[in-house]
Amino acid sequence: MKTLYVGTTAYEYVAGLPSVVIVCGHYGVGKTNFSLNLAELCARMGRAVTLVDVDVVNPYFRTSDFDELIEKLGVKLIAPELAKTALDVPSLSGRIESAIIEAQRDPHHLLIIDAGGDDVGATVLGRFAPVIVKAPYEMFYVINACRDGSTTPSDTLMLMREIESMARLRVTSVINNTHLKSFTETAEIERGIAYADEFSSISELPVRMHTLPAFLFDQWLSVETTSGSRTPISSTDAEEYLGSPVSQKTDETPLTPSNVTVLNTLCVPSVKFSTLMCDSGFVVQVYVQTPWGS
């Protein structure tokens, strides 16, 4: 269905991202985890990153909880004023709108807005939509086939429309984040890719990335050596392959653990990083479409 392409390296991809990136999705698919990974990657690739936490729905596990980690990554954080206190009132930082305008003016900046789940969480985005639409933006819709409430592409699409309606913004691309946390196995990854492809088809949106837990790395990522054989690579070695050109693959070949090639491995969290995040760290494979099509 989707071909894996040559061309864009991680650096170019990150450099090409518009300066306002929004992460939305069904409650509990992994938006915050993904946002943190993305922030780390973009900071490493040289953008000036600011993470904005606008989740006023979730009482626990919000981007604001990771303020120390975020600082270590060299990323700025804009959080609700009362974040990390016992006052669970829905409040937002007054600095958000000006941060959006500033990012739109300076292409070096990258603002990652981590929204709360579902249409309720996306309501906050609606307040900023008039400012956001004044410049190009990327709105990632994160999907997870294992998450109750969005296990079918049609349910997932319905949720997306509800989110778009409250956000007053359109989703631009999809992040397939299918996982069962530390219980994720190859079967879930394969199911997720099929689910994402079907979702891509009915939503008419590209799947920008498929994510992979770091502990499954060596089962899924391999590199073709000059002799033509494949060797699996570990997460510690993967750093070497960042930004290398990829080999092309045809549509017909189904994705299986043995024939997936290393493409642009964007985000390689260290073991320490992944244990701070949650049970599983995430590594991101990018399947990027080049303009000359399949």
Binding site: Y27, G28, N58, P59, Y60, F61, A86, D88, N144, C146, R147, D148, T151, L180, K181, F183
Partner: protein, 355 residues
């Protein structure tokens, strides 16, 4: 075999309750259990059930009383301060022998406290959930799967004994996301000939009542009820043992603390300390038999809780002076780390070694 899906603890509680035949939910929002009520608000209308956000937690528990009296499987949920408000209503349910499920997703206390998790309501749940001589059956699940399974079984157990059941969870369990296999929809619900569901001139009319003005009758009622409690204590104790066979020291912990204690026990074993974990699943009836069976071959006990020391009293009662019983806890919403628990285990083992 049903598929595993990722669910939040609060969602799993609601979904499993519905599959157990619960068609009446009366509740009120309070962090960290609001997702349970929100889930019910979405699902109940779709299946012909009733969701009501009551005007208060007091009102909600009285609605459960009414629905239960009429024979329905009814449920309410709240968090610590809200559970306190339900105290009178729960006592009334116990006094009228009405089944029902009450879920407490504990937060820090006392008072308004904090929104972070705690286990401070153990005494309340097992000893003092309301005025008068009565017991609730109290479950303490420690994974999202177990939360679904416990609430699913809670309705059956509650109906069978005509005793209200409480699930003592905490904010961490309510908010965490784990893979769950939801149980099958229950179709055969037990008949309730005592329910006030319309006698149609076929039987005497039933009365749901906790008022007994004649002392002898009230005493008789209490004796009969306590006979049921005795049966519950005999048949319904539940616990899980981990590495207990050759354990010289036993950590006793429930709910979220048990997950942390388990990691600490594994670490302690790696360092050569023969420690095991006894995890009560029912807090009432307390798993006395399981604990008592460990006494002959152990040297000491450590109760690990997210409070100032509550379940430790029950452990001491069972151990009855035969062995030392220590306590380790964090409170206020602070969650203990495996390393802190490991240090406490070492103190327990070290003290014994020194003797």
């Amino acid at each position: 075999m049903a598929e595993k899906v990722l669910m939040k603890g609060n969602e799993a509680l609601a979904a499993a309750a519905v599959r157990a035949g619960c068609r009446f939910f009366f509740g009120y929002p309070i962090t960290p259990q609001t997702e349970l009520a929100a889930y019910m608000s979405k699902v109940m209308p779709k299946i012909g059930g009733t969701f009501l956000q009551a005007e208060s937690e007091v009102s909600a528990i009285n609605m459960v009383y009414g629905a239960s009296a009429a024979g329905a499987r009814a449920m309410t949920s709240s968090s610590s301060p809200g559970i306190s408000l339900k105290a009178e209503g729960i006592s009334y349910m116990a006094g009228a022998d009405l089944p029902g499920v009450i879920i407490n997703v504990e937060r820090g206390g006392p008072g308004l406290g904090s929104i972070q998790p705690s286990q401070q309501d153990y005494w309340q749940a097992t000893r003092a959930m309301g005025h008068g001589d009565f017991h609730l059956i109290v479950y303490a699940p420690s994974t999202v799967q177990e939360m679904a399974d416990c609430v699913y079984n809670a309705f059956d157990v509650s109906d069978h004994y005509r005793v209200p059941v409480m699930l003592l969870c905490d904010g961490l369990l309510g908010q965490m996301m784990e893979p769950v296999v939801l149980p099958e929809e229950k179709t055969d619900l037990p008949a309730k000939p005592w329910a006030t569901d319309g006698h149609k001139n076929q039987r005497e009319h039933n009365v749901a009542n906790s008022l007994f003005l004649k002392s002898e009758i009230l005493e008789e009622k209490l004796n009969e009820r306590y006979e049921r409690y005795r049966q519950i204590e005999e048949h319904e104790q539940m616990s899980e043992g981990f590495l207990l066979d050759d354990a010289e020291y036993v950590v006793v912990a429930f709910g979220a603390s048990a997950r942390i204690a388990r990691s600490a026990v594994v670490k302690a074993r790696e360092e050569g300390i023969k420690v095991g974990l006894l995890r009560p699943i029912t807090l009432w009836p307390f798993p006395k038999d399981a604990i008592a069976s460990t006494i002959p071959h152990t040297k000491g006990y450590l109760s690990v809780e997210m409070n100032m020391g509550q379940m430790v009293d029950d452990v001491r009662l069972v151990v009855n002076g035969a062995r030392p019983v220590e306590f380790f806890g964090r409170t206020g919403g602070v969650i203990p780390t495996p390393d802190e628990v490991l240090a406490a285990i070492k103190r327990l083992a070290g003290e014994e070694g020194a003797k």
